[in-house]
Symmetry: C2
Subunit: 201 residues, 2 copies
């Protein structure tokens, strides 16, 4: 019984996510969400207080996934003893995969998060901050070890994250570059920079 | 007379920009815009067909400004013969100044552009593409000259632009970093990369 309940809630979130993506949060109704799941509106309200709570749970789920996947990716690379470029590439690939897995979510996050009340918005922004902080801590530890130069950690962390986020606006899945290619290019760019290396030309 | 007309149109755009920023495009009315300018609603409609046209003109103005300022910045640096780092820093500063000058506009662009009809949206996106293309052409010419390494130009251009755009989400005017500091840090990061240089430690 408990299992069923959990499944229905997940189905509701899944249907809502798709509907918000298609029509925008504002134009989507709980009636339509429940119709897609094949349950009554009353059954939907058994699981979620209102449409706003559904939006909040969708955002929370995606934000949690990013924080967790990145935490694991950083941990497994720190312990691996692999060369720095491989480590960074692996971490960036994890980020891109998680981020691009649900294009839908990005559209919802960019366009619909404003509909959340301040307290819920703060929870989601808190997760985003957590995500920034753990990447920043990893980069700072590399600086501490002398593995990378000491640069401004805020500028570095945001430049790196934004290079990843911005894919949402330009990356075409199925185009000439795979996500793995992009991660490698970005890791190479950030590690080696643009100036030709002395003695390597 | 013609001068007056132009001033009123500019005042309307200015008031609308502020109002859209405060309340969001959807919640702002042409009645409120005209009231802020101190003209009748009929007078407003003498200048603009409707609220949508006002939104379009606001977006167009800001997009044009970015394209023009960047074109000038690239041209003056290419001709200057200055060291590459100074050139790139100057171009990034111009970008950041133009982009951050009107925080309002960024909010409007991120949140309200979806309200434009497809044909008008395409015009604005065309300007954004023009902006990407001219920066990309500058970077490609540096690669052609051997002034910078040959890297994937798409990844490079978007990484650089996104490092600048993302400031909207984290940069605090009046905080410890000036826009000039940020531009210098980003130029340094992209030119030199993160790995310590041989023989410089």
């Amino acid at each position: 019984m408990k299992e069923d309940k959990k499944d229905t809630a997940a189905e509701i979130l899944q249907a809502a996510r798709q509907l918000f993506y298609e029509k925008g949060y504002e134009n989507a109704s709980t009636r339509e969400i429940s119709a897609r799941v094949g349950i009554s509106k009353a059954a939907l309200y058994h699981h979620f207080r209102n449409k706003e709570e559904i939006l909040f749970r969708i955002c929370l789920q995606a934000a949690d996934e990013l924080v967790d996947n990145m935490r694991r990716a950083i941990a497994r690379n720190v312990e691996s003893g692999k060369p720095l470029k491989e480590q960074l590439t692996d971490i960036l690939i994890e980020y891109l995969r998680t981020y691009m897995k649900n294009e839908n979510f990005n559209k919802i996050l960019f366009h619909d998060m404003e509909y959340l009340p301040e307290d819920k918005k703060r929870v989601i922004l808190g997760k985003e901050k957590e995500n920034v902080h753990q990447l920043r801590a990893y980069l700072a530890s590399l600086m501490g070890d002398g593995a990378i130069r000491s640069v401004n950690p805020t500028v570095l962390t945001f430049s790196l994250i934004s290079s990843l986020h911005w894919l949402y606006f330009w990356y075409k899945p199925g185009g000439p570059l795979t996500l793995e290619d992009v991660a490698e290019h970005i890791a190479d760019l950030f590690l080696h920079g643009l100036l030709p290396r002395e003695g390597k030309r």
